[in-house]
Symmetry: C2
């Protein structure tokens, strides 16, 4: 099996590294927008060869993984599906973007006779605040979840093939409806990133910013780790999942307003209720996570 990678950032390059030694894999073939990325990927042996244009991957791959930022992935998916629809046996097309609804809607908007059975949308719940081909890590997906949002028009073979690819990389693959994916990820990932970015930016603009960053300690470092994530990636995610991200911000803001009111009223009982519910939920979540896997990585 030949696997193609459109984009060789952290996720694409890590998946290529993870598949490198699988006996099922023949060639790993890449396309990167920047020549320097391709040079690094070739010299590190992350891919076997490169193509000059993204669409060339359609001709030489059995599976093509689009691993670019969310909005670019959407454009590229539409472009590639347009070409694939003219092919007798197109390769399986999948992606790794953090939002799935925008891709789903963009394909529907193509008004094809039917959903292209070879297009299986996916999202690995793994990452790092580091980005780029240099951050590639073959263990990135081990014991991490990959969420697929299959369409009823998908061929069973295409879904199974994408499942296999991720299982070979060590991931635990599950499926869910596309709307549920985007709601849940807005709450657990997109919202926390917006809060962390907004907090650090607000503090950086304070008159006291020098003192603030000088005297901040470990808790602040952990809380704001995700504010070191790639800005382009997160701009795209917020735009692609705009409605759910706005809903999540609004729900959070009304919760925070409730806590603010309790503090302003010196209502210790209400504060205790909020803090205890939060601690109990978070402790339970961590216990469940730890029983499944170690605590080494993941976004």
């Amino acid at each position: 099996m030949n696997v193609g990678f459109l984009g060789l950032g952290l996720i694409g390059a890590s998946l290529a590294c993870a598949l490198r030694d699988r006996p099922e894999i023949n060639d790993l073939i890449g396309y990167g927008h920047r020549p320097s990325t391709i040079d690094v990927a070739l010299s590190l042996g992350i891919i076997d060869r490169a193509v000059e244009q993204p669409e060339h991957l359609l001709d030489c791959c059995d599976v093509l993984v689009i691993a670019t930022p969310t909005l670019l992935a959407q454009q590229q998916m539409v472009h590639l599906v347009g070409i694939a629809e003219t092919m007798e046996s197109p390769p399986i097309l999948t992606d790794v973007a953090s939002v799935k609804g925008n891709l789903w809607r963009a394909i529907e908007a193509m008004e094809l006779p039917a959903w292209p059975e070879y297009v299986v949308l996916g999202h690995p719940i793994a990452g790092s605040e580091r980005s780029g081909v240099h951050a590639a890590n073959p263990k990135l997906f081990v014991d991490h979840r990959v969420i697929l949002t299959p369409h009823e028009g998908n061929s069973a073979g295409a879904v199974q093939c994408v499942e296999k690819l991720w299982q070979w990389a060590g991931a635990d693959v599950i499926s869910m409806p596309v709307e549920l994916h985007d709601k849940v990820l807005a709450a657990t990932s997109h919202l926390p990133h917006m809060l962390a970015y907004s907090l650090v930016d607000t503090l950086a603009q304070s008159d006291l910013s020098l003192d603030i960053f000088r005297y901040a300690a470990g808790g602040f470092r952990d809380f704001t780790r995700i504010a070191s994530s790639d800005p382009v990636m997160w701009r795209d995610i917020a735009l692609a999942n705009k409605d759910e991200v706005l809903n999540a911000i609004d729900t959070f803001s009304s919760g925070l307003a409730g806590l603010r009111a309790a503090i302003a009223d010196s209502d210790g009982e209400q504060m205790m209720a909020i803090f205890e519910r939060a601690k109990s939920s978070r402790d339970t979540f961590v216990v469940k996570q730890n029983s499944k896997k170690d605590e080494t990585n993941g976004v």
Copy 2:
């Protein structure tokens, strides 16, 4: 030198452990509200002996560390200063509370003839989401900052003695005005705790809470770690530093409203400006921290 501990939770017990082998220290003497805490502290050798009442520590100690939650520490400080004022040579009194202004104002409200020269307020910038005597860690303060907020009425000897105590525990001791301490800590510590508690509590009450916690990954775990902190401690901090915490929440909320507006307007440029400023500040902060010390612990 005999050192007394009023309260043997994470901070008090960790400081006792850190001082255990110092040649300057004679006896470590404790008072704990719960008999079970004292039993554990004695059996683990964290303290040498215990007293029956907090005020008994005044008679047998050279330095007395109040290490109870913020509001209780305030009551106890006022109570102990009231007795100490009647003593010919009272011990040095210090504390470890996360807010300093409430203690400062409570002592001023006693309307003593002058600031009690033996009272030196302090705050170690270290901790853990774990709490209690069992969490004691002799390395907790190593390479961590301790902020003292000395009063102009303090004796130089009292300030130096408290500095020494923390330096013996491996900490880096600095001083700052009490108002600056409470503003900076509101921004870097109290606000992030309020945001983390509020986020986890809001998500826990969502219709999708089961899915949310099931599919959350490492980034969410780090972002919400501080929501596992002790609720009583954080209720007290928010009440004791109410004005600064409310200011910090309001400043954050208006920053978040700005980001929300950028997302709602699909204003990618504005979003990039916010994300890039945040990433740059946070990356710089981490580089500076790493050049100083390792990344092992700290709140």
